[in-house]
């Protein structure tokens, strides 16, 4: 079980979730993807879309200011 990182703080919808899905496709089952997102649309939608598509949200953490880290388990 490995942990991978992805920064989508510069992306806009829908590329935020597109890039997340592409990274999730590259990692193995049970691996964890830590995604850096900004507050607003990505923070609301990445967990929602990930859950809908069968991934598990392990946690969401506010790193600083409006930057959050979403931990997704494949």
């Amino acid at each position: 079980m490995a942990t991978f990182n992805l920064d989508i703080t510069k992306e806009h919808c829908p590329m935020t979730f597109v890039k997340t899905k592409i990274q999730l496709a590259k990692i193995a089952k049970d691996d964890i993807l830590e995604v850096l997102v900004t507050e607003g649309e990505p923070l609301e939608n990445i967990p929602k879309s990930s859950t809908e598509q069968g991934f598990e949200i392990l946690g969401i953490e506010n790193l600083h200011d409006n930057i959050y880290k979403i931990r997704i388990k494949k």
């Binding site: 829908p14 590329m15 597109v18 899905k21 592409i22 496709a25 809908e52 069968g54």
Partner: protein, 265 residues
């Protein structure tokens, strides 16, 4: 395979879909579909297959673009008149999506070339305008275990079914071509241009579902629609044990072109 940044953006709306995703888009890019006939059905079908990123699209058609085609054969344009349809179609596909490799066959589909050509593809899309070729495509697919989408339109009506090995084939439902004169040709009967778009687009959707392995194909059923009432119905057909090509005692064991007048779609 790794997507380029441009591919990620181009296919983003597919990648987002749960049932397509990265894996499905890779299947599309690795997929090979042959469109038989670059006419009313083949035009919209080829355009959508190209846009979807089907990696190899074959187009077979021996005709040139005629002004009477342009009312419904939307892959061709007025400046294409008198140019081979396969060349006109190839140019549009390459403009829509440079990821697609287009193979053209400027010839008729015959008993001699059908198996060689079909063997290069995963899925066949029948956009032909005549019964003999429709039966030929069916028989070649049944005998070689290849999947295809049947489509036909006339006036305001359309019908389509998908064949995959082991399921109901076109001959299970229609034993042989109708007798001469019973079915008017499209040049006699006419066809609403957009009806070709509806049907060809359904066929392209079946091809995309087949390549990605998602959903339920139109196997063992015919989808029949009428544009005037805008009603769609799906009619179930079981396999026919007396089918001359896929039944218990088949009488068709090698390919033969049936005799019938052609209709200009």
């Amino acid at each position: 395979m790794n997507f380029t940044d441009i591919q990620i953006e181009r296919y983003s709306r597919h990648i987002i879909l749960k049932d397509v995703g990265v894996e499905g888009q890779i299947k599309l890019l690795e997929g090979k579909v042959l469109v038989v006939g670059a006419g009313g059905l083949g035009s919209p079908a080829a355009l959508y297959l190209a846009a979807a990123g089907v990696g190899t699209i074959g187009i077979i058609d021996n005709d040139v673009v005629d002004i009477t085609n342009l009312q419904r054969q939307i892959i061709h344009t007025t400046p294409d008149i008198n140019r081979p349809k396969v060349i006109s179609a190839k140019e549009k596909i390459e403009k829509i999506n440079p990821d697609v490799k287009v193979k053209t066959y400027h010839e008729l589909l015959t008993t001699d070339n059908i198996n060689d050509i079909f063997s290069e593809y995963d899925f066949i899309l029948d956009g032909t305008d005549n019964f003999p070729t429709k039966f030929l495509i069916n028989d070649a697919c049944v005998l070689s275990g290849k999947s295809f989408s049947h489509g036909g339109i006339i006036k305001f009506d359309g019908q389509t079914m998908t064949y995959t090995p082991g399921n109901t084939c076109y001959r299970c439902v229609f034993n042989s071509p109708p007798p001469k004169g019973l079915v008017p040709s499209c040049s006699q009967a006419g066809v609403l241009g957009s009806v070709a778009g509806i049907l060809g687009t359904i066929q392209a959707t079946e091809a995309l579902k087949y390549l990605t392995g998602i959903g339920e194909l139109l196997t063992n059923r015919f989808l029949i629609f009428n544009a005037l009432s805008m009603s769609f119905r799906s009619v179930h057909f079981n396999r026919n044990e007396n089918c001359p090509v896929c039944g218990i005692n088949p009488t068709i064991t090698e390919l033969k072109l049936e005799e019938m007048p052609v209709c200009d779609l």
